[in-house]
């Protein structure tokens, strides 16, 4: 398309980066949700009366009707594996030898994405009941990582 030619000594690529450094607030609802994990070891949801849905994690608004959700309910710390994957890939795309077990755990009408542990892969199936394992209270920081992982409920 070009009449101009590329200088044979032209460098192929110019290297650079996007330096994105961030600080995120947990938000109005996140504050409630993560304080409950941190201080009480509880998982909170937010019921929307109009839609008949209990969102988990707790949120400030119903995405379906935009009502404000100012109530919270304790939904317990045991949920069902709704789906899961064995992740053989690191964050940077390199292959892992041993997979991480990641699941979506149903709680209320929502749930949490988290890792599973203390589990035999043979036992792993959709519908399995799992419970949250919390860090010791003194080490919790009000983060999703205050839950170390979920594990099968002892039968």
């Amino acid at each position: 398309m070009s009449l101009l030619e590329r200088d044979p000594n032209a460098p192929d690529a110019w290297l650079g980066e996007m330096p994105i450094t961030s600080r995120y607030t947990a938000g109005v609802a996140g504050e409630r949700f993560f304080r409950a994990i941190k201080d009480e070891g509880k998982i909170l949801g937010s019921p929307c009366d109009r839609c008949g849905i209990t969102y988990v994690p707790a949120r400030q608004f119903c995405e379906r009707c935009m009502d404000e959700l100012d109530e919270t309910v304790d939904v317990g710390t045991v949920g069902e594996v709704h789906t899961f994957t064995l992740l053989f890939e690191n964050l940077d795309g390199t292959q892992r030898e041993e997979p991480e077990v990641v699941a979506f755990i149903s709680l209320g009408d929502g749930g949490l994405v988290h890792k599973l542990d203390e589990i035999h892969l043979d036992d792993l199936e959709i519908g399995l009941l799992v419970e949250a394992v919390f860090k010791p209270e003194a080490e919790r920081q009000g983060s999703i990582l205050d839950i170390t992982y979920f594990r099968p409920v002892p039968s």
Binding site: D12, F88, D92, P99
Partner: protein
Amino acid sequence: MSERVAIIGVGWAGYRPVTPEVSYKELTYEAAVKAYADAGIDPRRDVDSFVTVAEDFIEGTSIFDEYVPDQLGAVLKPVHTICGDGLHGLATAHMLIRTGQAHLVVVEGHSKASNILTLPEVTAYAQDPILNRPLGLNTDFIAGMEMNRYMYETGATPEECAAVVVKNRRNAMRNPLAPYGADLTVDEVLSGPPLAWPLGRHEVAKHADGAIVMVLASEERARSLSDQPVWILGVGWCNGAPSLESREWGDVPYIRKAAVMAYRQAGISQPHLAIDVIEVDDTYAYKELQHLEAINYCRAGEAGMLTEEGFTAPDGELPVNVSGGSLGMGNLLDASGLARALEIVLQLRGEAGLRQLKEAKVGLAQSWRGAPTTSGAVAIMGS
């Protein structure tokens, strides 16, 4: 107000795994020149408005919008960016023309995926920063969990998903634009390394560089400029729940709604009877099946079986991704939807070469913006 809108020119450059000899601007320019020549127009004189689809972190530039006009012939013209897929761009051009304020509108999308050295980490920055990102997971985990739930709910099998890879990469061998043509077997696909079980590494579209430009026109302008306008019969787009915590894992209701919107405009009630050729998003192999079911090509759980039976093959009853799809042509990031639409345009114009289908009068293109999004679009075109 112009009710009807047509695509009257298309141009492309790429698609290749790498394109080191040209900058993104030069790649786009090549596609633009071809599209304008195809439409028989001069962008400086004739075009009323320009639409680009792009995302900052993909380009490595904040406010990437800045760098759009020069290589499109769009300087000092109405230009804007849609942070969406190429089909969102097409829908935007469609709307602009229907207002009656614009008669010729250009849509552009490009990928320089090869220039992003840390794409998985950039993609992970699309995860919720508070709820999900602290887990430090490669975003493909979402695809693995979706695929697992999709198979659980519909009874689809790993073999059926792998059959999509076999078909699409085989189709790509008959498409000179496609860099990833291959003659594989289902076993070869399934015995590849695991990625996010049940998803295997061979079931994920590899990235490619490329650029696509399309020229859209009002009915009056289309009839005066083009011998073979491709009419936009309907276009729909929709978002689902962005949160992983409130979405459906086995289904894609947003694609379903986008399709309903497009069918309603096109007056189509029985897609399998009305449509001759389909291009759907196949970023991950299972997505082709899930998307076919969502656009009501068949009932939930049937798409895999139909694939295995050859129903979706080029010589099948209703061919899907004759182009090779993203598995065969490469994942062009947000230009992927334009690649799907381009194949429909070429098929409807009878210009698809070796892979030309016999009876191609109405075609459908569908896109998805990739994990972790719940954003997709559908466009239906007719000759």
